[in-house]
Symmetry: C2
Subunit: 335 residues, 2 copies
Amino acid sequence: MNQDWTVIDGLQYSAWSREIFEQMHEGGLTCVHVTIAYHENTRETLTRIGEWNQRFESMPELIRPVYEPSDIALAKAEGRIGIIFGAQNCSPIEDEIRLVEVMRRLGLMIMQLTYNNQSLLACGCYEDEDSGLTRFGKQVIKEMNRVGMVIDMSHSAERSTLEAIDYSERPVIVSHANPSHFHPALRNKSNKVIDAIAANEGILGFSLYPFHLKNGPKCTLDDFCDMVVWTAERMGIDRIGLGSDLCQSQPTTVLEWMRNGRWSKTMDYGEGSSSNSGWPDSLSWFGDNRDFPGIADALSKRGFSDGELSQIMGGNWVSLLNRAATPASPFLQHP
Amino acid sequence: MNQDWTVIDGLQYSAWSREIFEQMHEGGLTCVHVTIAYHENTRETLTRIGEWNQRFESMPELIRPVYEPSDIALAKAEGRIGIIFGAQNCSPIEDEIRLVEVMRRLGLMIMQLTYNNQSLLACGCYEDEDSGLTRFGKQVIKEMNRVGMVIDMSHSAERSTLEAIDYSERPVIVSHANPSHFHPALRNKSNKVIDAIAANEGILGFSLYPFHLKNGPKCTLDDFCDMVVWTAERMGIDRIGLGSDLCQSQPTTVLEWMRNGRWSKTMDYGEGSSSNSGWPDSLSWFGDNRDFPGIADALSKRGFSDGELSQIMGGNWVSLLNRAATPASPFLQHP
């Protein structure tokens, strides 16, 4: 893997530790989009941000925050992993439009409109009925466009996703999911959605979460490369990146929080099932951040050029953030 | 009043409107330290910040945020009033040390450790017993020093104030109060306190709130100038500024929120009394922001030089903020 590349993983949620950040360095990462909220409300999200601030303070030689797209180049130059804050749900803004700007100023650069369920903004991928964007949802999209917060539809339902892409004036992303064509998981995306993302100049980040892959944990690196080749042809080489969905060293209580939050008294198994309720087994070729160079090598053997690989491994994410995560108004005073 | 001066008012809490911001321009103000919280908890403080963001968005020709001391010069150059966020209480950080940095990043530049009552940090000026800084209080002072949030002891009790000055490694301020020597209100400050503020290279901001002045609303501009002359001699010309405590166009419900918050079921009258429960009458010579030039003129007639006046009218505040409101650590990533 070329040391000059800016390598970005489009989603991780691990039990953060010095060891994991060191693995990111070993794996040649430049930046990682980390989840700071699943169901956390506004107040709880501030506690999550406070925990990150303490990590930045105690491990300044390993990590730094990325508040603006221009911070990515600083992270690269300093040799520190840049941490990009994202929320997998709109719970951090509760019911208040003005919290979009407040959260953006605190560094929240990416936000999903829904996480599996109906939210105040749109519909999630596990609901039976998808009635599309809500009134509040349209307001929030406009505001996210204004302040430069990227709209992520990874866990959203199809109609809501297409409407968000249509309504947003800036590119919309799917930070971590795969084409349903490759594996028809409910969380993966139809050709209609990936075509809309491509037309909108967004990004699809390939997930390495076994439930999103053909044959689950047994998916081979060759299968994965097949998917990348197919998607690059369909969406274009500029429209793809990585979004590993790596959830390293997390206890099952965290999986339960992700799946059940506070919304269900009976266990919901998400992409698993009652007989397969825990974390899936790892892929043999992707266990932690040190395995990114192996993916780049495999894609290189499939014929992607060095220039194309630098785009897939992170360059496309840099371009996307420069187009979607900068404030639209010169009067916005962050940072 | 010299147009080249940077004129700063060290405290206001008005019913903000276009008219008031226009009056600030007419009065030659550069920046105003505005109160964003009295008893607001963390979540409620974000709503207050959101309301300010909406004002910045809708009146960009009149106002701009001051997130860092260096923004003061920008405000001056742009001809926009710089708004400095402050809290009159520690309620915005609740019981969480890490919220100091979170709030600082949102622009909270100044915070009082107490508002009249005992807080989690220290004791307020209306309690019977003052046991000084708490354990949490000491931690918060250290953290405020680190992130560059100015410690304001305007509403604190004497022992707590002296201990905070002693414990803090950066200057401590009293943004809005007068020497008890001039008028012995409970809220005003003893010679011991103002001497400690002076030794600590902080600032005393002269209050124009009638309850803090000799003869209340009947206090003359001459009386006020007497106080300034006396204090300048005692504390030094570098240690004084203005902190008008202007509460313009606020209904009495706001006065009740300031005084009673959620802590009392029976009405507490603060500096007033049951027979004098409302806002005090205005001074004849200070009704709103257009009256600052009159104060400068009166002080000039008392013999302050132009250089001294530029310090009193705002220069000292700029110096103080540069010494106390910049982050102590190079790894702090705000703004």
